[in-house]
């Protein structure tokens, strides 16, 4: 287990170091997500009441697109110069690569969400009170999305139709969790307390655990020939 976390730490540190230097993933996904939010607010905003219904969808759509872009680009770095093969040749447990990439991708996505949530609140004139519980939902939803995306993103390194494969596999798998995230966020924006959406929170947490376990167990098999 110690080896597992040591390897994961090295892989994650490597990804964060590259991103700190290039800012390629966070800047491009942030711009894209901000554009989605700004255009949606211009197109759909009518008044404060309708905004409460629209904002959750806009927020989650922006998160999902930012997430898929982030995961795709992160695995793309492993494709350059066949770097993933270098990791696979090293003696660290294969699951270390999964957990390391997952952590890096989660950090990239959360960094974008730090910009996204206040922007949605501003453009859709939302109350500030529900933002904290919404952040819990976003954290859980992002973790699940990135867990699934990182697992199947590894497939995208080994196939030519990489973006297509990732989208076809990941989107259907994460749809139930996304639905939960959107519905719970809508309830929170409408004034419901966190205790009322606890069921959705539990579903998101269960989804996270399932994909984390699947990643741990399946990652090696997915990368085998």
């Amino acid at each position: 287990m110690k080896e597992l976390w040591r390897g994961a730490r090295l892989v994650a540190a490597k990804d964060l170091r590259i991103e700190a230097r290039t800012k390629e993933i966070t800047v491009t996904t942030a711009f894209f997500a901000v554009l989605v939010v700004v255009l949606s607010s211009l197109a759909f905003y009518l008044d404060r009441n309708t905004a409460k219904s629209i904002a959750p969808g806009v927020l989650w759509v922006a998160v999902v697109f930012a997430g898929i872009t982030s995961v795709t680009r992160s695995w793309g770095r492993e494709r350059e110069e066949d770097a993933l093969r270098g990791l696979l040749l090293s003696p660290i447990p294969r699951a270390s690569i999964y957990f390391g990439k997952l952590f890096g991708n989660l950090v990239f996505l959360l960094a974008v969400e730090v910009v996204l949530v206040p922007l949605v609140a501003l453009l859709f004139h939302l109350e500030l009170e529900p933002l904290l519980p919404t952040s819990v939902l976003l954290l859980l939803g992002s973790f699940g999305f990135v867990s699934a995306g990182t697992l199947f993103g590894a497939l995208s390194v080994q196939t030519r139709a990489r973006d297509l494969v990732l989208s076809i596999v990941v989107f259907p798998l994460v749809t139930p969790a996304l639905l939960g995230g959107v519905v719970a966020t809508r309830e929170l924006f409408a004034g419901a307390p966190l205790s009322e959406v606890l069921g959705w929170v539990q579903i998101l947490a269960a989804f996270d655990l399932v994909f984390l376990g699947a990643g741990y167990l399946l990652f090696d098999a997915l990368l085998s020939d």
Partner: protein, 218 residues
Amino acid sequence: MSALAFDRVHGERLVKLYGRTRALAGVDVAFAAGEVTVVEGPNGSGKSTLLHLLALTAKPTDGVLRFGKLDATKDARAIRRHLGVLAHASMLYPDLSGRENVRLYAALFGVSDPKARADALFDRFGIGPFGDRPVRTYSRGQLQRVALARALVADPTLLLLDEPSTGLDVAGVERLVEVVKAERDRGAIVVLVTHDGELSGKVGDRRVALRNGKVVEA
């Protein structure tokens, strides 16, 4: 610095199927310490597949592959500690410097002092001036030097070279020849897959020829 972990690698009746394609069709091979074995054959003969099996990046469909007393299937992680692979692709991260890349691999291989190991390898290969620049800016020859340092980061017992001279100039090939000879003299098992007759002539001690997934000469 790790001691040699095994003195022989041998495969018996190795079969590798990709779907219905038989890449290897019952190959018996053995590689000994302190010897450079050149694996030759036309495209599609199974050379790269054999190298994948030896690098443990693919599993044989059938047959036995042993690294000394270690079994390729059961002891894969233990064996990987003692493998070094140099291929045409450098397996380096373009946005990191050469030094950062080699330190990363040293850490991944559990080398006790990654920084000192990277520095020592950079001295050996004369990578001082450009080693701190991003790999993306390297010439082919510079890339090859850092990739060599990466491959040798854990003093591998088994060194696998897959078309290592592709795109190298004369000086680069000469440096490669010196390294291969030095590794052989250290006692490493060296397996070289190449179409470069000049390189194999300079360093090869033994040759194995493959054709249609079978050994036709050993």
